[in-house]
């Protein structure tokens, strides 16, 4: 337990590990939904410091990882068209579509730009009235209010050269799909703190009741993650299933009402493909018909494009917790962060990339040093 000394509060960390050890009497599988939490867990070796009976399963909570190949191909098609300035968050650029990625489009002369905020794309549209500016609007509930505001501002400002390619995904339907699957082995969930800071905690109550799984809203610091795990194990051991909020310094029951209202105005719920997983009913947001004139799929005639998934990439099984990243034959050989087969190896939040970065090639390897915490958004 020497790595405990590097936690930001080693005394509390030691107490939490000891308490989890004390109350654990049998095997439990706990899924952390958010990629930011996965990162925190792997980087700090939390999974290796926990009792052997506690198995952490890394969930699908990385928007870059679950954006479907078909949507990537649409982005690549639009970004290649003359006169287009294609704007994206930086970590989408290396995600492979069927035959190339946005970097390649850029190197072939496409005007692909990384933006920090979706409002940067709106400003680009204002500054370049002679160009078509397209923003790739991906993300979970945390990112949707920002993307919705960009569309709202574009309309307010009368911009006719701005549009969005929308591929938003939602956490609760993904949890529903996982617990409903015949292959499910998850006993309890850590819900993503920042998603809940926007949406509140109410959506999770029905999941807890219908499926009898404990769900604990959890933050991203190593100590937050440990406390979330402790609360899930405590519930599992006494046989209860409740919704708990272990991140109340940021998350309220109602969430951020202004952000929810903006999202409801601009987007509407739709079925959504998840890369490697398939279609999950009512698991995404698309543009509301009220904002149809900002729909890049219609404007650039890509709405009917369809693309098959790579058969060599097992990211779907990784995202559902059925295999660990290093159990995929392609891990670290055919598939590396430089030449990824699938998106879980691309994004810094992806489980495969996290394992690769921290050399977690074998679950019995020595723990990596505990150094850091993260504040995830997705």
């Amino acid at each position: 337990m020497k790595y405990l000394d590097e936690f930001n509060d080693p005394v509390v960390a030691r107490q939490l590990f000891a308490e989890i050890e004390r109350i654990t009497t049998r095997p439990w599988a706990i899924m952390e939904v958010c990629g930011g939490q996965t990162h925190s867990i792997i980087r700090n070796g939390i999974d290796q410091l926990l009792p052997d009976d506690i198995h952490l399963i890394h969930g699908p909570g990385c928007p870059v990882c679950v954006t479907p190949v078909g949507m990537l191909d649409k982005a690549l098609d639009i970004a290649s068209q003359p006169g287009v300035i294609f704007c994206s968050f930086g970590d989408m650029l290396r995600v492979p579509g069927t035959s190339r990625d946005l970097f390649q489009v850029k190197s072939e002369g496409g005007d692909v730009r990384v933006v920090y905020s979706p409002l940067d794309a709106v400003k680009l549209a204002e500054d370049h009235p002679d160009r078509e500016v397209v923003f790739f609007a991906i993300g979970f509930e945390t990112t949707a209010p920002a993307n919705a505001m960009a569309v709202h501002q574009a309309r307010q400002r009368g911009l006719t050269n701005f549009s969005v390619l929308v591929s938003h995904v939602l956490v609760p339907p993904a949890i529903e799909a996982i617990v409903s699957s015949p292959t499910n082995r998850v006993d309890g969930f850590l819900a993503a703190g920042h998603v809940c800071s926007i949406m509140g905690t109410r959506q999770y109550g029905p999941l807890v009741e219908q499926h009898g799984v404990p769900i604990v809203v959890t933050g991203f610091e190593p100590l937050d993650v440990l406390e979330g795990i402790r609360r899930v194990v405590a519930q599992l051991e006494v046989g209860t299933a409740e919704l708990e909020n272990a991140y109340s310094r940021v998350v309220t029951e109602a969430g951020n009402v202004a952000a929810q209202q903006m999202v409801e105005d601009v987007f509407e719920v739709c079925d959504r493909q998840w890369r490697g997983i398939g279609e999950i009913p009512l698991s995404g947001w698309r543009l509301s018909p009220r904002y149809a004139d900002f729909d890049a799929e219609a404007r650039f005639h890509v709405a009917t494009m369809d693309s098959p998934e790579s058969s060599r990439c097992r990211s779907g099984e990784v995202l559902q917790g059925l295999i660990k990243p290093h159990e995929c034959e392609a891990f670290g050989t055919e598939c590396t962060p430089r030449r990824p087969l699938g998106a879980t190896m691309v994004s810094g939040e992806g489980a495969c990339a996290a394992y690769h970065q921290y050399r977690r090639l074998d679950v019995t390897a020595d723990p990596v040093p505990v150094t850091l915490s993260g504040v995830g958004g997705g």
């Binding site: 930011g36 928007p63 730009r113 920090y116 905020s117 993300g139 920002a146 920042h194 993260g374 504040v375």
Partner: protein, 98 residues
Amino acid sequence: MCLAVPGQIVDIREDRGTRMATIDFDGIRKEICLAYLPDVDVGDYAIVHVGFAISKIDEASALETLAMFKELGVLDEELGASIDDDGDHDAIGEQVSP
């Protein structure tokens, strides 16, 4: 884009009806939107995701998290640096603010 990074509000203003702020992430300054977190003042710390403040945070937690992000080298990436064709990170300010 997944990260949410804490920073300190150094300036607040209105831009065409939207409340905007300048925020300082350990020396890196960015323009952010306060539409979803109207109840902040200059000097407060907030958690920011893709240019939008999403919740307040106390100074001690903010500084601790910032220091760790800095140590990891993820701040530049998250705050608008791009990855070039060699896989290295470089600033893109001139591209997004022509």
